[in-house]
Assembly symmetry: C2
Homo-oligomer: 255 residues x 2
């Protein structure tokens, strides 16, 4: 059996009681931190609390060589610990699919993800988020236009955009993300956004013009950005004023 | 201090270790189950596992009379247990805002939400979900067109739509939701969807034409529906074939 267990957003104590039970029961405990990272803890702290040896997987172990894990799960209870909620990364659904096809039973133990947690942190309404996108580091000097295009699509239906920031080779900061996106901007980004750091931990949040976000010190990663829709519910505005020190000018976008 | 603690998706064991610590430390433990429900447990089971008396709040306690809770949190550590992830319901962000304005410190302990869990269950890519919507029971005989309009908006940007189903006075079934939406359909709904029941518990999932979903027995609630975008990634299609018995005809939408 192959069980993917979500670890939530911050440290080793964000695991659920159900998740911990499965870790204790497993024959083998793996963890992977390239699709998402847990910044408030360490492997040692996890091993101590969970009472198990945790083997960290590399990217290749879950992609090119995923068959090895699946093979092992045919005869053993194999657990893979994943930051956030498993399945949000497509790597995980591919692994579940491969296991199912090879006759291996699969299970997912859910946990918090930035996708839902962003709502209580920003006060933005969950039903107003459109598609999300990842801001990647330039590849051979070329900046992907995907995040910009997703923002445009979302603006066309009055939806907020959650921008996740690249984690590899190291977690991208809000300042870096803004500079990268500036290179492909056609004027779309002349609007307000919310920068969020360390969600689930000592969270810091600041609403400002997208291009003013780098002026603020968001501290250590992980960082993420919400690019706002052009119409805000007044409770969204009020929440951002109170919790994210939003500028008064944002009020003109309240519908 | 006012702490909102997510309980996750199914039963009393879905709480996180961090959440449980806060429950044990609290002066007063409330719970509310009208914005979301936990179907795999009972107040008695929670009280037993958490070792605390849990007082269930009504809707009015968190809306019209929310000041009472906030007042209590001025001098006590007040905890409110919430199914899913707090903040996904706007009721919670309003409460956090009210508390902050009255000088009460607030905290949220995150947990799994259907918003992210839907990805690992359906294999649909998280970045392809657009805005979500709730299918409500008709009010004075009138069916809201909002979910239909949200589906149209999402289709315009090739995004999936997560449809949450009304919980009050009783959890709506997939069959009921389809019949309600049929009344306002202008042809938009002639497409495929995925019905999901009991996510986080003994989950059942079936992909079919939207109008064929009522032919399947999804069993007990909670139910939810994903209305698919017109273009699917081939791994989304393959996952739905394998885990949701999707019809072969869905293949024509693979891009």
């Amino acid at each position: 059996m192959l069980t993917l267990i979500g670890l939530g957003l911050w440290d080793e104590k964000d695991i659920t009681l159900k998740g911990l039970e499965e870790v204790k029961r497993a024959d083998k405990v793996y963890a992977e931190f390239y699709t998402s990272k847990l910044m408030g803890t360490s492997i040692e702290a996890m091993e101590k609390l969970y009472g198990r040896k945790v083997v960290v997987l590399e990217r290749k172990d879950l992609e090119d060589e995923s068959w090895k894990i699946v093979e092992e799960a045919k005869s053993k209870n194999v657990v893979i610990l994943v930051a956030g909620d498993p399945g949000v990364a497509t790597t995980h659904s591919s692994l579940l699919l491969e296991a199912k096809r090879k006759g291996v039973e699969t299970r997912v133990i859910h946990n918090a993800s930035v996708i839902s947690a962003i709502c209580s942190v920003t006060g933005l309404h969950s039903y107003k988020f459109g598609k999300s996108a990842t801001v990647s580091y330039p590849y051979r000097g070329i900046v992907s236009k995907t995040p910009l295009n997703v923002i445009k699509e979302n603006l066309s239906i009055n939806a907020h955009t959650l921008l996740l920031l690249d984690l590899n080779p190291k977690p991208m900061t809000i300042g870096e993300a803004v500079k990268i996106m500036e290179k492909v901007d056609d004027g779309t980004l002349n609007h307000f956004a919310v920068g969020v750091a360390r969600i689930g931990g000592d969270c810091y949040i600041k609403c400002d013009h997208f291009y003013s976000l780098p002026n603020h010190d968001f501290g250590k990663p992980l960082h993420t950005i919400v690019f706002l829709s052009k119409k805000l519910h007044f409770t969204e505005y009020e929440f951002l004023r109170e919790f994210a020190d939003a500028p008064k000018e944002l009020e003109e976008f309240v519908e």
